[in-house]
């Protein structure tokens, strides 16, 4: 797998600036518009996973781990054999076969601020084969202190997504639970109240979910059948529903630049028949219940990831679709325009690459590709 990144790069998380001479225009390096391949750095082994926060990017390699992703190193010395990683602005958490460690990135300590030993016995008792970070035996690692939070074993946690101030949990049963801040509908219970304890998203009851993701103020889940459900704040179109704020900005921008075309204009041809032009009057600012989003007709979603205000989804046919906030180039359409409608990232099609995974940092996006073997019909 090769990984490509695009979007926010002010800390060199995607690629190092080539020209650092004083006075040079660094704006092109801060916002990477054209998807750029990630260097494997010193080691030759392939990148098996990427994790990103706002200023950092961590890559997990097949034989270990590379922490020095941004221009600052974080002082992690023994990182070989790492199987998984999780990164926030404050902490880097590494999962080894026998232990999990959390390092405070601000303080550059010599020892981790939290660690636990893991053994096969505790893993099998939880009922799940292998826990993915930020899930750890007995609970999860949060982005703010206290680092370790416990989770009831009754939930049978399978996969956890941590958003800006909320959490979305996928259980082995296929049910989705949410907790944390609810001010922007990101918990999906139909209101704006926050929840201290995990609460089932009843609107999804009866549908088995296979994946979850969380952004700054929005949440996403994928059903077993590859359908996408989103809820939360839609101020930049990250839910994929018409966003008033976005349309207003578009109008202001197009009135300022004569002849500029709205990116959205191209996608309108693919709209569903029941949504006519007049329906543009209906804007969604907060989606408090899960809403089904038709990303693209007749395509199943394989995996999804969220930045603070954008969403990226990979279809089973190897295409990457993005929508939401795009002002740092994180949507990958080689513009700085936001969008409230899913659009395919054409770069990968043009390069005849098949996208197989996507991981979003706060303001950027990383896609894993393999070479397309069978041309798309």
């Amino acid at each position: 797998m090769r990984w490509f990144g695009f979007g926010f790069n002010a800390f060199g998380q995607i690629c190092d600036g080539l020209n650092e001479a004083a006075g040079s225009d660094v704006t092109e390096e801060i916002r990477v518009l054209r998807p750029t391949e990630l260097d494997s750095c010193c080691c030759c082994s392939k990148i098996s996973g990427v994790r990103a926060s706002w200023s950092r990017r961590a890559t997990v390699h097949e034989d270990g781990f590379d922490a020095a992703s941004s221009s600052q190193s974080c002082g992690v010395s023994l990182s070989l054999g790492c199987k998984d990683a999780s990164i926030s602005e404050q902490h880097l958490t590494l999962a080894f076969p026998d232990r999990i460690e959390s390092w405070d990135l601000q303080r550059k300590d010599q020892t981790p601020s939290w660690s636990t030993e893991t053994n096969t016995q505790s893993e099998s008792s939880s009922g799940c084969p292998l826990l993915n970070l930020p899930l750890v035996p007995g609970g999860y690692i949060a982005t703010k202190p206290p680092l370790f939070r416990s989770l009831s074993p009754h939930l049978k946690a399978k996969s956890l997504a941590l958003g800006g101030d909320h959490a979305v949990l996928l259980c082995a049963s296929g049910a989705v639970y949410t907790w944390g801040l609810g001010s922007h509908g990101q918990l999906g219970h139909g209101g704006l109240t926050s929840e201290e304890e995990p609460r089932a998203v009843e609107a999804l009851w009866g549908m088995s979910m296979s994946g979850v993701a969380a952004g700054g103020w929005h949440s996403v889940s994928i059903s077993d059948g590859g359908d996408l459900y989103l809820w939360g704040w839609n101020e930049s179109g990250q839910i994929g529903l018409p966003s008033r704020g976005l349309r207003k900005t578009m109008q202001q921008r197009s009135s300022q630049q004569a002849g500029a075309l709205c990116q959205d204009a191209d996608v309108k041809s693919g709209e569903e028949p029941q949504e006519g032009e007049k329906h543009e009057d209906v804007f969604i600012s907060i989606q408090a219940f899960p809403a089904l989003l038709d990303v693209t007709p007749s395509c199943e979603i394989r995996t999804v990831s969220c930045g603070s205000r954008h969403t990226a989804a990979v279809t089973t046919t190897g295409d990457l679709y993005t929508w939401g906030w795009g002002e740092y180039g994180q949507l990958g359409h080689q513009t700085l325009i936001s969008s409230d409608e899913p659009q395919r990232v054409e770069f990968f099609r043009e390069q005849q690459m098949r996208v197989v995974d996507v991981v979003c940092g706060t303001w950027n996006t990383f896609a894993a590709v393999v070479k397309e073997e069978v041309p798309n019909s």
Partner: protein, 408 residues
């Protein structure tokens, strides 16, 4: 026609307000602000005093603004760490510097004013409230150029308001210039509403700097303020927007561009934002009868066309509502009758009644008709004393500007 020299010195004036060099430019934050963010702030500081393109300065400022904006929108406003509001203000500062550096056009100066206002509204004061200093410099610049363009003074066609008749037995009592002691004994301690007459006669807002549409445009026209759009804050269609005073007057007072619907510059601490207007008003002497420090008194502006409505609600402090321009119909209910006023159950609106005072749903709210009340038409020069937790309903009868003082 603007002279070139006025714009050439704008940057030198702003420069003079800034520290002389990078070393003396403070960037101190608590641990809440991650080191990566401080790095971006330091980069912007470096660009301020060194070489950089306009585009990279703007982008550096934008990164700071975007990141802190996300923090400001996390959780409830009350719980946002003040450090993030300071970071946001720094972002505004760097953005203004970028906007004003290279001979800004008139429109760019207006954009810079807006940037300052965003920092004043959403940020927290940094460097001795430098954004307030800079917006003053920018406003002088704006006024200079607009003085040379004489716009025809617009005459607002004021329709005669339909004034409700106040029945004597329900009228709020009126008293002219009572002594502090008399007010304390007769109204404050027993918590009795009263209209104080003659106590703001001396306000410049009613005399030398008489508040009018023209005056407000000249003092604050280019300033950005929060405006409530929609008939009342309990409606689904209600929202808030940030526009300039000029835009507010154009759209919601003059109804230009066919704008329908109500806009209300309501519950905004305008006088902190625009010091010139603060000088046109005075703190009522009677506030000294309170127990709290006078620095804790919240002064709000309420400026809008006829027809704006504040639904029946109560506040946790004493209130002096001073009427400066136009008139308002006001009804008061005692907190003792709360049980007949059907407050909302939700946490957010528990201080607001569900009843539409001037069009009550008798079936849903049968007890409401039994609740005793007092009412008045508040005129320019009047000050209404609304005792703490007294329910009040307000409807403007015409173009109106009131100033409220919340004190304890």
């Amino acid at each position: 026609m603007k002279t070139f020299s006025s714009m050439a010195t704008l940057w030198s004036k702003i420069s003079a307000a800034l520290p002389p060099n990078e070393e003396q430019f403070p960037l101190q934050f608590s641990d809440t602000v991650e080191s990566s963010v401080v790095d971006v702030l330091k980069r912007s500081r470096q660009q301020l005093y060194g070489d950089a393109t306009s585009a990279s300065r703007s982008l550096g400022a934008q990164i700071i603004l975007d990141f802190s904006w996300e923090k400001l929108n996390t959780g409830t406003w009350r719980h946002v760490d003040k450090e993030w509001r300071r970071v946001y203000s720094y972002g505004c500062l760097f953005k203004v510097a970028a906007q004003c550096r290279d001979g800004p056009s008139e429109n760019e100066v207006l954009q810079a004013v807006r940037t300052c206002d965003m920092g004043l509204l959403m940020g927290a004061a940094v460097m001795d409230n430098i954004l307030q200093v800079i917006v003053g410099i920018l406003q002088d610049e704006v006024r200079k150029s607009s003085k040379e363009e004489d716009e025809p003074v617009e005459r607002l066609k004021l329709e005669q308001p339909h004034v409700p008749v106040i029945r004597q037995e329900f009228a709020i009592p009126r008293v002219k210039c009572p002594s502090l002691e008399s007010f304390n004994t007769n109204q404050l301690l027993p918590l009795k509403p009263v209209i104080l007459e003659g106590i703001i006669e001396h306000w410049p807002a009613l005399n030398g700097h008489r508040w009018s549409i023209e005056y407000l445009r000249s003092v604050a026209g280019c300033r950005t303020v929060p405006v409530e759009v929609g008939s009342r804050y309990t409606d689904e269609e209600w929202s808030q927007t940030l526009i300039t005073v000029n835009e507010f007057i154009d759209r919601y007072i003059m109804n230009k561009d066919g704008v329908t619907g109500l806009g209300y510059l309501a519950q905004h601490q305008l006088f902190d934002q625009i010091p010139e207007l603060k000088e046109d008003i005075r703190l009522p002497d009677y506030c000294c009868l309170g127990e709290e420090d006078e620095d804790n008194i919240t002064v709000n502006a309420w400026f809008g066309p006829g027809g704006t409505v504040s639904p029946l609600h109560q506040d946790p402090q004493q209130n002096f509502l001073a009427q400066v321009v136009g008139s308002k119909y006001i009804r008061l209910y005692s907190p003792e009758d709360t049980d007949k006023l059907y407050p909302h159950q939700s946490q957010l609106l528990h201080n607001t009644s569900q009843v539409e005072v001037e069009n009550p749903d008798m079936e849903r709210f049968p007890e409401f008709a039994k609740a005793p009340y007092l009412e008045c038409v508040l005129q320019p020069g009047d000050v209404l004393f609304i005792p703490v937790r007294h329910w009040h309903y307000v409807r403007s009868l015409e173009l109106s500007f009131s100033v409220s003082f919340w004190w304890s």
